[in-house]
Amino acid sequence: MNALRAAALVAAREVRERARANTFRLSTALIALLAIGAVAATTFLPDLFEDDPARVAVADAGTPEGLAALLAGGSLGAELRVTSVPAAEDARQLVLDGAADAALFAGPTIAFRNEADPTLEAQLTQAYRLASLPAVLAELDLTIEQARPLVDPEPIDVTLLEPPTGEEATDDESGVAAAAVILLLMSLTLYGSWILNGVVEEKTSRVVEVLMGALRPWQLLLGKVAGILALAIGQLAVGVGSAVAAIAAFGNADLPSVGIEVAIAAVAYGLLGLLLYAFVFAAAGATVSRQEDAQTVAMPITFTLVAAYAISLTVVIEDADGIVARVASILPLSSPLAMTPRLAVTDPPLWEVALSLALLVVSIPLVIRLAGRIYAGAILQTGPRTGLLTAWRSARETLDR
């Protein structure tokens, strides 16, 4: 039998058995819900928090011509919703009815219901003066050109005395970066724990002895990791598919502009990082025989991941071009978590991204060899705990089976 076919059988079993389990179905449903929820949130939440434009009722009688048009034009800063009515009384009534926030009529008068809004007041005052200008000029017998210095004075410079260093992340960018880090950590630990527990389960149930009658350790290891990666990709597809479907369904999703390249980076780093950590988790799992010991033996790995997560969530997002962020996003053990948020908040030099990816890609086969050897050496050891050194040494014996 083809050696890879055996690994494929292992992978197929992994996929079939896990896809059947309730935990898998539940987590897949959760991912779909999260994706839809995230799209819904970006679509509908801004509307909830954004203030509606102020509504103004303008009486035509006794007010300058073109006042309503000027207010509606939006050239005065904040957008206004303008209703034109014939008489002052009509405008007042609209305010009393709650259909308008303020009324502007001859007097000139700005009427509020029970509380004045100073911003709106300033806006309306300025609009009224501008609209009155042609009539005032005509009275003074001046042309617009003569009045230009009054109406349109020289612009005034605005300057920052202590400008912020580098590029400041916008709220959108930080939000995307944080979401990416959280999702990456969740994926790495979730799928990592599947591998860990799967390997330990095979030792606990001692099925590994039967398996070793038909398989070599590397076939079992490769098949298991491949199967769980396939499931991870499947769940990713469910997540992306749900998000795309939700965007199509909700129509006007207000997606953060940083989205697409960060999404690609997140997927690439997520998969490469998972590949790297999967084998480490498998090697750790092979050294114990009881489920209770699994978490203990995985502690150093989890700790590394959580440390990378903490650094990514704080230092990298706050100071994306600082030395810590740069190192963390290049080293292979932390780059799966740190590079994506960095890409979200800043534009790191291309060579840093290339180096980070290259190191990650190069380190994967090294880790596979190292972890594969420990796995092979430990998987058939029967004691409760197998030391790494013992595993390393006895691998020679298992490998030349």
Binding site: M1, A6, L9, V10, R13, R16, E17, A21, E201, E202, S205, R206, V207, V208, E209, V210, L211, M212, G213, A214, L215, R216, L380, S394, E397, T398, R401
Partner: protein, 312 residues
Amino acid sequence: MLELDGLAKRYGNVTALDGCTVRVEPGRMLGFLGANGSGKTTAMRSIFGLVHLDAGSVRWRSRDITAEDRRRFGYMPEQRGLYPRMRVRDQVVYFARLHGRSSADSAAAADRWLDRLGLADRAGSRLEELSHGNQQRVQLIVALAHDADLLVLDEPFSGLDPLGVAALGEVVREQAARGAAVIFSSHQLDLVEDLCDDVAIIHHGRIVLDGPLAAVRSGSPYRYLHTSVDTTATGHDNWHHAIEGAELAWTKGPEVRLRIPAGTDPTALLTAAQHAGDVAFFRFEPPLLSDLFMEAVNPTAPPAVASAEPPR
């Protein structure tokens, strides 16, 4: 033919195997006997490369065993091992496929075997939902569903009720009849006696007795006399003390079981018994496997100690 040749293995201060040499012929069943810790399991695991031997070699058809050979073997480890939450039929199919059979063949074999061992209605159950005996049946099916050339069964009958033992024993015998080489270990010596063609007894990691069962029995330097003599009329309670070289294995009421040198004339013994009283029955025979086992494993101890508490 499977050859275990001069196997040696030490775990720290413990010697598990010490020059163990065993042969298993195709079409024959070898009963592999030994006390707890005598090295049976280590020897059987070495066939699958699960033990790194200090010395010796394991050969199949006169060559070192390859991964391809192993795929044609079937193994039932002492510590049973299957996926607890996997469905029974899926499990059998999966292992048959790992052993190189096609998907269709594996499915057919799974159905045939589950039906044969009365598990057809449990095909869709998770393994953990089955009783101990049924789990053991599944474990045996997993070992042989790919029509293994060599079956290595470590304590295949332990913990089974007599019906289970009979069913599984018959299946294993058929495998040998089909041409498979079978090696199985057991503590149930009467069972081994009924099932196996050949026997090998391992003690402290080395083989102390082996060969075809009949030859091993007749080759023993002892015979056993099991008789019941009613001595109430004569008062010759200790009649057997007069028999030359006889050692008492055990006695219960009128019954005695004696170990006697092989050359002793049975007719003289019968005469002596008839002199002592009424003989209800008289059986003169080569040693049973349990006798052989005790002789081989504990040759200096008197047979009384040995057979008074037959090894389980």
